[in-house]
Every structure is written in C-alpha cells, then in structure tokens.
C-alpha cells in the first residue's frame, strides 16, 4: 500500500523522522517498507501492511502506529461543519436497511446540496496521485481522499438520479444486473449486497457504485454514504463477482463502527469547503450492532516468558498505552476498537516484543534435559539407499510430480487409476505421476546428446487411485543408457545384497501382473524383482515403441522399486563374517547344453552338488557351438574354513557334479 510521506507527517507537530529513517523504523517495528521514492516535494512509501492490521490501511491509522513507535502524539486536524438550519436531511431522502445486520452494521449518510462539481485543488490531486489514485472531480476525489486518509470507504450518489429518493440496503434479487462506474455489467444474485432505490440496484454495497447514480458535472445534490458493511457480505460479493476494489479490500478486513460517522462529517466538511456545498441539517445514522468494549487479561510474566526476556510491567504497560490500550480494572486492559486482531495474551506479547525491539532480545539456548532424538528407520534407509547408488556411480535426479495427459496415454495407464489436478499450473502438469519412469526417460533423452554414459536414479512419491482411494507411495527408480541389461542386473544384485536381503531373485516378467501395467517394457528383456514370493519391483529394457516416442537413439534399461514394500524387508544388522585364511582351489567346468537352457538351471545343479566347500561360482564364458547348442564355462572356487582343502576332495565334488549333469540327456560335459 502506498503512503504519502507529507500526509503522514501532517499528523505530527515535530520530531517526525526523515523518510529513510521512517522506512527503517517501520520495517523493524511494524511493516516492511521499501526505500522511499522522491516525487516532487513528497516521498512515496510502499508499506506492506500486514493482513491482520486493517487499522493501518489509512494514513491516520499508520500515523497512529508510528506514534506508538516514536512516542510522539499523532493528532487529527480540527474541523467544524456548518449545517443548513432549514433543510433537514430527512426531507431529501429515506434509508432502510434490511436483513438485520447481515449486510450492514451501521449506515450513516448526509445530504449536501448546491455543490459545484469541478476539478480538485492541487493539494488534493497531489495527495491522491501520490497514493496511486487518478483524480476525477472534487466530489469523488474527496471520498477517495477520506478513504486513504481515515480508512473509511465512502460513496457519493447523485440524489436526483435516485428513484423515489429512497435508499434500500438489501440482498440483490436473482437476475438483477448493474452497470458499474467503469462500464462493466455484473449479474447479481441473492448473495450479493446492494444499495437500491425503489426500483433497481444503484451500487454493489461496499464494492463499487453504479453508473446510473454516479456523480457528473451536472450533479447538484449529493447523497453521501458512510457505512460499515460486514466482512462476510463483502467476501461473498467479491468472490462471486470476481471484483475487488480499494473499498472492498478495507471492508473485507473489517472497519470500525465509530469511524463511519466521523469520516462522514469530515468528508462533509471538505465538500463544503472545496465544492461549496451546503450541508442539510442532521445525519442519518442507523446503528444495527453496537461495538462492545473488549478487555483482555494482562499478564506481564507470561509476556516476558514468551519473549524470553525480562521486561518490567511498567515498561510493558507504557508500550501498550502508546498503542491505545487502557488500563481498567486490576490486571485487565481495554482493547482499542480499531484493534480487532487482539484476542489473546500472545497478541500482546507480539505488541510488546516488536515495539520493545526483537533485536534487544538476547539469543539464549533453551535449558532442557538432554535427550537423543529418536531415529526413524525410514529416514536412515532412504539415506543409505542413496549412498549405495551414489557409490555405484549413479547421479541422483529430482523431477516434477506432475505429468501431462499425453504421458499417461503413452504409458497406457487407465485414466480411472490416475489422480487429476483440478486447477493445474499448465497442461504440462495435469496428472500426479503414477510412476517415476516417465520423467526419468525424459532425463535420459535430455542428456543423451551431451553424455555417452548416463546412470541416474530418483527417490520420490508416486500417486494413483485404487477403489476411489488416493494412494501415495514412495518409489525408487533409475535408468542406464545403452545395451546394459546385465550391468543393471548386477547393480540391482549389489543393491539388494547391501540392503541385507537374502531371498531376492529375478523372475520372468508377466504382463498384467502389475496394478498399473505400464507399457514401457520390452517383454522378452524384462524381469520382476521378487523377495520371497512378493514382487517389489521391475527392471528391463525399454520397448522400441517408447524409445521411438522419446526419440532416444540407443537402448535404455530402467528399473522401478516399491520402496515402501522394500523398507519392510530390509534387515538392519550388519555382522562381520569370518573368512577362511586357507588357500582356495579353482576349477573350470564347461557344460554343453541346448541354446534355450537357462543358466539358472545349471547353476542349481552346481550349487546343490557343491556342498559347503563350493564358495563361489562365476560364469566366465558363453560360446555358441552351433544354432542348437552352446557351451557354458563356470569357474568354481573351493575352500574350507578350518583347513586347506585337499585336491582329492575337490576331485570328488567335481565327479559328483559330472554325474549329476550326465543324468540329464540334454547336457554334456565338455572335457
């Protein structure tokens, strides 16, 4: 909100700070204020008045605040109005407020006649321009000026245009329309408060005036309204009509009942002085709700305790007195009517704290019993997982949780399983991601022109719907660029072992076994990762169709793991395993088998015959003999724990293996 330095200064006799100093004081004690901007002989201050302080939405309000900070009195100028004795306000117009106090809590008005509508004097135009208002004519300018000066929005009607000279405050009827001063048409309904004459709305109450009753150069009789509209009514109107004005902003945050008649009289005084109007005798003042005096229990000890600094009761009371609080009975303070935000002792702590100065509160460590924080295993393991992937030379990425519609279509996720954003930031971000893989593929594509080797991973939430329930899960996913299925399998092997999981294995991919059934995989080169019988993830090559869609020229291998499920399976302990100091004996065994034999089948024979002394099996060579047959060479390591293993023993085991292999007519030992 913009303020004129000169106008603020006008409330003080002397001792008012220089513009720059004022900006600093305000920033540290009340509201953030930008560096003052010099314009002509004035300075403009941009003050970020906090939303709980509508009492400072005017120059007088802010001056009152400054006065409490600098401890100098802020005074309003004195004025006196001269009323015409013969013509009473009631002879000009009648006012009726309907629906109790739901629209309006107080309605004050005066009538001023014989006005001369013309250009405003220079001081008035300057003051308005400084605060960002366009000067229009003296009558409208005065109403705007009162608003920025005192904080009370006013509205001036051309009384001669009001049918029946009757002013009704009521809810609009469905279908009623109004053309506002800025030539916009609004359709109204029963939730919008209006000012109406006998026939039609002539203003949206507290928001904007109608064109049909506006002030023109020909206007001679003014009906000047100064009302207190309820926050609720104004909020309804602004939301329904999507229309906000300087007036509605003030009403929305709440104005004070006592301000309406005072501002009205001051406006009338200016109309008389500037527009040469005559003020009809008396004023309309319909009060539907009384302002109750509010008090609050004062507890200087609690205030000191909240702030963490000893401030004497005397000093606290002085600060609060300067802010307008009055001491009443013992331990109770009367809250000034303009401070609707004060409800509890903590509010007083804020008042005392900021005026006393937060910089004067010394930083002190709390005196508490030392207790080690509880460590959440999930936090620990997430960190650990990231460490492992980093050690395997993967780079961590983080991506948006939102996907475009086309991504969902491409992945083949049924739309009833996806969660839509009702008000997305743009079409790029319409759906919550049901998988991390889409953005990871985007990452691969984006980086492939610059990097020949890409190894990336991400940990993040994925979202989908199950039986109308919104599900949020943590997932781990990643990618390797290139024809590197077995490299990725090796990384996953290392990862699961490192997590202390012994019973993980890689099963064949079964399409449609997943909840979301992503159309990402090349089915022949894809595997389900299982722990025991439970599926925890999937990995494999990306299908040609997806690669083409992403325009990635190379193969890509992906994986995605359900981290919530994995977390349940992680075994925490890590114990030292004693290893043998005795030499190991290595033997290579080659087996000829049909092309379609799985390595796993042969491994199982080797491991079951090997016994405890077979400590490791490595597949070291695969060699195609012809189209039907291949030769697999394994390197077997034999070692005993407590002694050196004898070559004889090894031979025995090898023979056992040979016998077992030869039981199968499809297999043959290559000697």
């Amino acid at each position: 909100m913009t303020f004129s330095y000169n106008l603020l200064k006008s409330f003080f006799k002397k001792g008012f700070p220089k513009p720059k100093e004022l900006a600093e004081i305000l920033t540290m004690k009340a509201f953030e204020c930008e560096a003052p901007i010099k314009t002509g002989s004035d300075f403009i201050l941009n003050v970020d008045v906090l939303p709980n302080r509508p009492d400072c939405y005017s120059h007088f309000g802010l001056a009152r605040e400054i006065s409490a900070i600098i401890r100098k009195k802020a005074r309003l100028p004195k004025w006196k109005i001269k009323e015409e004795r013969k013509k009473r306000v009631e002879s000009f117009a009648k006012v009726k407020v309907f629906f109790g106090s739901s629209i309006c809590k107080r309605y004050c008005a005066r009538v001023i006649f014989d006005v001369k509508v013309e250009e405003s004097p220079k001081w008035l135009k300057d003051a308005l321009s400084a605060c960002g208002f366009l000067p229009i004519n003296n009558v409208v300018d005065i109403t705007n000026f009162i608003m920025i000066y005192l904080g009370q929005p006013l509205h001036a009607f051309d009384l001669e245009k009001i049918e029946g000279k009757e002013i009704n405050v009521r809810w609009a009827k469905k279908g009623e329309k109004i053309l506002t001063l800025d030539d916009e048409i609004y359709e109204l309904d029963e939730k919008v408060g209006v000012i109406a004459d006998q026939k039609k709305p002539i203003a949206i109450a507290g928001v904007k005036g109608g064109k049909n009753s506006g002030i023109s150069e020909k206007t001679e009789i003014i009906f000047l309204e100064s009302a207190n509209f309820t926050r609720e009514a104004i909020l309804n109107s602004t939301q329904r009509l999507d229309l906000k004005t300087e007036a509605s902003k003030r009403f929305e945050h709440g104005t004070v009942l006592s301000l309406a008649p005072m501002a009205l009289d001051f406006a009338a005084f200016l109309m008389q002085k500037i527009a040469k109007g005559k003020i009809a005798k008396g004023k309309i003042d319909i009060l539907l709700e009384k302002e109750r005096k509010r008090t609050i229990k004062f507890d200087s000890q609690k205030i000191s305790q909240v702030l963490g600094v000893e401030i004497s009761e005397r000093q606290q009371l002085e600060i609060l007195k300067n802010l307008g609080f009055k001491k009443t009975k013992k331990q109770f303070l009367e809250i000034p009517d303009f401070r609707q935000d004060i409800l509890e002792i903590e509010n007083l702590a804020e008042e005392v704290g900021r005026i006393f100065g937060y910089e004067r509160i010394k930083a002190t460590f709390p005196q508490l019993i030392l207790a080690m924080p509880e460590k959440d295993p999930q936090v620990f393991w997430e960190k650990e997982i990231k460490e492992i992937f980093k050690a395997m030379q993967f780079t961590e990425t983080m991506n948006y949780s939102f996907l475009p519609e086309r991504a969902i279509a491409l992945l083949g996720v049924p739309t009833e399983k996806t969660i839509k954003i009702k008000n997305p930031a743009s079409f790029e971000f319409e759906i919550l991601r049901p998988t991390l893989l889409y953005r990871i593929l985007e990452n691969v594509k984006k980086n492939s022109p610059f990097f020949s080797e890409i190894k990336i991973f991400e940990i993040g939430k994925i979202f989908f719907k199950e039986e109308k329930e919104l599900i949020e899960k943590k997932a781990l996913a990643g990618a390797i660029l290139g024809d590197k299925f077995f490299e990725l399998k090796g990384y996953l092997d290392t990862f699961f072992s490192r997590m202390g999981i012994v019973d993980f294995w890689f099963d064949f991919y079964k399409p449609k076994s997943e909840i979301l059934n992503l159309k990402v995989w090349k089915e022949s080169r894809c595997s389900e990762i299982k722990i025991g019988q439970e599926k925890v993830g999937i990995f494999g090559e990306v299908s040609q169709e997806i690669l083409e869609n992403f325009k990635i020229p190379e193969k890509v291998c992906l994986f995605e793991i359900d981290l919530d499920k994995l977390m349940e399976k992680i075994k925490a302990e890590q114990e030292f395993q004693p290893y043998s100091f005795y030499p190991a004996i290595l033997r290579d065994v080659s087996i000829i088998c049909p092309q379609k034999t799985l390595v796993d089948e042969i491994l199982q024979i080797l491991e079951s015959c090997g016994g405890p002394c077979l400590i490791d099996v490595d597949l070291i060579d695969i060699y195609d003999i012809d189209e039907e047959r291949k030769s697999l060479t394994f390197r077997l390591s034999f070692q005993a724990k407590e002694r050196a293993i004898e070559p004889k023993e090894v031979e025995e085991i090898i023979n056992k293996i040979f016998k077992e292999v030869e039981k199968n007519p499809c297999l043959e030992i290559r000697k």
Binding site: T27, M28, L50, P51, N52, R231, E232, L235, H253, Q305, V306, L307, G308, V309, E346, A349, E350, G353, Y358, E359, I361, A363, T364, F365, P366, L368, L370, M372, P373, K375, D376, Q378, V379, K383, F389, A391, M392, Q393, T395, E396, M398, S401, F402, K420, I421, K422, N423, P424, A425, L432, I440, N443, K446, N447, F451, I454, K455, I456, L470, E472
Partner: protein
Amino acid sequence: MDFKKKKSELLGKIKQVKELKELEIVWKNSLKEIKKLTQNLKKISLKERKRLGKEINKLKEKLEKDYQVKKQFLQEKAKEKKEFFDITLPGKKVELGRFHPITLVKNKVEEIFQSLGFEIAFGPEIEDEWHNFDALNIPPNHPARDVLSLGKTFYLENKKLMRSHTSSVQIRYMETHHPPIKIIAPGKVFRKDAIDATHEIEFWQLEGLMVDKEISVANFKAIMEEFLKKFFEKETKIRLRPSYFPFTEPSFEVDISCVICQGKGCQTCKKSGWIEAVGAGMVHPQVLRNCKIDPREWQGFAFGVGLTRLAMLKYKIPDIRYFNSGDLRFLRQF
C-alpha cells in the same frame, strides 16, 4: 646332507644376483651343477635314487622359476633408467556418483538439527484441508486461506490437495505426540505459480517445531543462529522483523546477513545486506488447542525455511528451474 646343502647354495646364489650378465653365468653354472647331481645318481641305491631323483627335478623347476622371475625383474630394472614416459598424457576419466543438491542440503540440515536433539518427522504430500489449513488457524473465509487455497494450492478430488507448506507436518506430529516436542520436517511442497527464475510449482521446505514449558523467542534466536552458522560455515547474523502468519503469534520474518556479499550489498540481497529467508513465530495458542495441547501449559516456536532457497544461497545457484531440470550438466557439479 650333501644334497640339502647344495640346494640351499644354488637357490641362494640366484637370490643374491644383482646384474643381468651375472645372472646368466650363475644360471649356466646351476644347470651344470644339476647335471652333476643327476650323474651322481647312478652311484646310489635304486630306492635312494628314485627319491633323490624326484628332489633334483623339483629343485630344477624351482631354480628355473627363480631364474625367470629374477631375469624379468632385472630387465625391468635396467629399462627403468632410460625409459621415456610421458606423464602429461591424460588420466583415465572416472565418473563419481552424485547426490542432488537438495539431498546434500537436506542431509546437512538434518545432521545439524539432530545434533541439537531434533527428531526428523514427515507427512504425506497429498493432504486434507484440516492439516493444510483449518488446524493451522486458517479457517474458510480467512484472508490468508483465500490467498493460499484459491490462488496457490493444487486441488484434487474429494477436497484433497497437494500440501502447500510443510506446516501440515506440525499438526500431524502434535496430534500424535505429546510435548516436549523437537522436530524438523523437510519435504516437497506444491504451489500454483508461474514458473520463472525465482518461482517453482514444486520445491522443498524445511519445517521446524519446538514445544516445551518455557520455549521463547530468545531460544528461537539461539537455535536459528546456531543452525545458520553451521549451515553456511561462517558467522551469520540474523534479525527478526514483525510479520503475520495465522499459525504463529508473535510472528516474524527472519532476515540473515547476506551470505553472498557478507552484508556489503549485492544483487541477491538487493543491496540491503539482508536476505529474507525464514518465516517463524511462536506457535499460536489456537493451533496448540487444535492439537489438544494446553497453551497455558506449553509454548514453543515454529519456523519454515525454503530448503531449495538455502541450496541456491549455499551453492550460488541463480535460477530455481535447475533443480527439477534433470540436467546432468547441473547435477554433476555437486
């Protein structure tokens, strides 16, 4: 006896050789000696001959092996002196694995606060209105609710939403734990915004909450100063300015002395020497009551920091869009 002596003599000789020329001579001599030994075999009994013959063969093998090893070693040694070796050739490229800068910052923040006794808490990213708004003293029709909910929050079905701040975790934690409470909650938050160099729709926040019998503004200052000092690894000043949040009272904005220019004035701090970094305050009594905690008995502070913003300050990252870019040219710098 004789053979054993000979064996250690022969083996010892090869061991002691220092030059290639000498080695060849020793080797030839050794072969001669072996030959002699073999010839001598004829003179002994058949049984002895068999045994000794085996021994001699073993020795021959061993000598040959030693000779070859020694030869190679001496050859290499000879080369060493005159070798041309270009050490200016480039080294083999080794790629390190990397953490996202957010992870780095998050780890560091967690470590600092854990050392101060804070626990790490978290909550869901899909939230309800109670935890994101109502319980935080932002009821419907509240001006702050208006700004947050209509303008800045992503809504899903059934009135669910994407949390717009990590303050929701405060509520979730206080609903399930009784004071004393000391937690931090790092997490992703979502705001409807136009993305540019300083605005994102998805970024990271850090929430802090400490509730006990007498936790004060003075305590908050101490903890915040300590944290910032440890985080930026330099003396960092803070100042508190009055502010307004519905869920704290008193509320303040915490400025930190500019870590880029040390308060001298630069682009980042808009020449003021201060950076607005933390929103904080004393937990509003209504928020405590909403979580069934008696504000007459308990009080404390809460704060919210942009974790993404901390990362930008720490690593001097000029544009927030890098974080969600997935660009390895960015990610491989950390």
